[in-house]
Symmetry: C2
Subunit: 317 residues, 2 copies
């Protein structure tokens, strides 16, 4: 089983419109809503891949009820920690017109130290059965930036590998605890290190404690700095993969978690991650992917060594 | 007691932003949400004016639960008719930046004939204690446009006067039943009659069955075609009343319902409606008004006869 933790989940609402016209009223014809937050999206991909998964997340209020109802409807196993009375899970609203998406992210309710402790207890109860732990997305207001380090240490105590997908201090403050894999995107990598070159920046994150760094660089694919070597993995530039990039990073995280759980070699793990990411771009909502596109992209992924000096360490992730 | 009916209520969500930039992501710092829909806004104004009121509305799903929680929190008495299992009350999202509001209106769940019958039963149960009935806002998908006529007839059977605030066919199909007052705005008046001149258009609506027509013309105030005479009521052009016009029409409806309940003379009713509408513009959210502005605007309202030929009928609304 792979456990995903989403400290700041959301009800993701999508409105499809012919065009968003600021400062006017719109009748929305098509409303889509689903349980969201990066860890939930990862769980959705894992479930679709046929991997047993449990999503751990705080939920509260009517919006939390809507998230729970969607998880039930989709058959996604979850362990929900209640929020404080009166607190309600946040929403995100994506207004999608033919040009692109306009996104409105609510901040989410505060999570107290007490509720964070309840979430740690929930994760601890699942770790004996877990083959990988995924920590994904923003930390809610009220939590100290080092909160993810608690979970990394908890997993290491049980010998469970960890994929961390976070930004800013939530990422950098967890490096000391030695997450097995971190997956920043290009902007997050630059933001966390202040270094413009992705390879130098990824190496800097590895020096600060991450055992492996897999950076997602959009159409340029993945860059992986691992104990076994450094690789670039990408699809050929043509044909261009068009669609909705929301959730592509979550598909990468799902593939990396599967690789950790199955102890796959890195080149295979990266190929699957690139193909799954492209298949997610082809699906309209986060956490979904186009199975046909996954199958057809997989043999096309190019894996190239990207650096001369593998660091000493065990082989495989 | 004044009963308000809101066939298509909503959870009104407001996001305050420094600027809405299409096709980018926004972190929303301030989220406001409240029970909404025109009839709910009217009930909120009536409650704030100290008039006993009961809001009748269909509610369902997690969003319906959030609407109910807000009504409870605000002390607004309500009689909720459950939606079909799985159906959820709609949302509206207003993104407010310093320039203006950008509004996204969900269509709302279908209301079946069976659920409409349950709503009629709920209203019937309240009519013996009612001094006025307010019918306000759009009809949900699935209802025939003549649905409001059922409620007008039900009220007339019990001798209860009715204010109807609706658009398009929901308005015109109810005229046969003889609503006591209809309150279109300028666009709705033109839309319903095809006549550009507001006075001619209001007279046409009266000819088609409305006993009184009170048209709200924005900064030009109100135009009333009544059995006792025709008036224009407005504030002086200076100083300009600035603020959020959402909910100003609902404040007019609330004032007209009070006038019907108290059998006030039309000039007094119109003065209160204009002052209350301006006070609503000064408040940030629909259904609220600035009490101080209400008191200070009331003596400034100008009431002028607007037409030569009062139709025969009883005096007062």
């Amino acid at each position: 089983m792979i456990v995903t933790v989403t400290p700041n989940p959301a009800l993701d609402i999508t409105y499809d419109l012919p065009a968003l016209r600021p400062h006017t009223s719109h009748r929305v014809a098509a409303v889509h809503e689903q349980a969201g937050g990066k860890g939930v999206n990862v769980a959705r991909v894992l479930h679709a891949l046929g991997h047993p998964t449990t999503a751990v997340l705080p939920l509260g209020g009517p919006t939390g009820e809507a998230v729970r109802a969607d998880l039930d409807r989709c058959g996604l196993a979850h362990l929900a920690v209640p929020l404080a009375p009166g607190a309600s899970t946040r929403r995100t609203v994506a207004v999608v017109d033919p040009a692109d998406a306009t996104v409105l992210n609510e901040p989410g309710p505060e999570l107290s130290t007490e509720h964070w402790a309840a979430l740690l207890t929930a994760v601890r109860s699942l770790l004996p059965a877990a083959r990988a732990l995924v920590l994904s997305g923003s930390l809610p207001p009220g939590l100290r930036p080092g909160a993810y380090a608690d979970l990394v240490r908890l997993a290491h105590e049980q010998g469970v590998p960890v994929v961390l997908d976070a930004d800013g201090a939530a990422l950098t403050e967890a490096l000391d605890a030695g997450p097995t894999v971190v997956k920043p995107n290009a902007a997050e990598l630059r933001h966390a290190t202040g270094i413009a070159d992705p390879l130098d920046a990824a190496r800097a994150l590895a020096d600060r404690g991450a055992r492996t760094v897999v950076a997602s660089l959009g159409p340029d694919g993945l860059l992986a700095v691992t104990p076994d070597g450094t690789w670039r993995a990408r699809l050929p530039p043509e044909p261009v993969v068009r669609g909705n990039p929301t959730g592509a990073g979550d598909a990468v995280v799902a593939a990396l978690a599967v690789a950790l759980a199955e102890r796959s070699p890195w080149p295979q793990a990266l190929a699957r991650a690139v193909a799954l990411s492209a298949a997610a771009v082809r699906a309209p909502h986060a956490g979904r992917f186009d199975r046909q596109a996954y199958r057809s992209h997989l043999p096309l992924v190019q894996i190239l060594p990207a650096g001369p000096s593998p660091r000493p360490g065990s082989s495989g992730p």
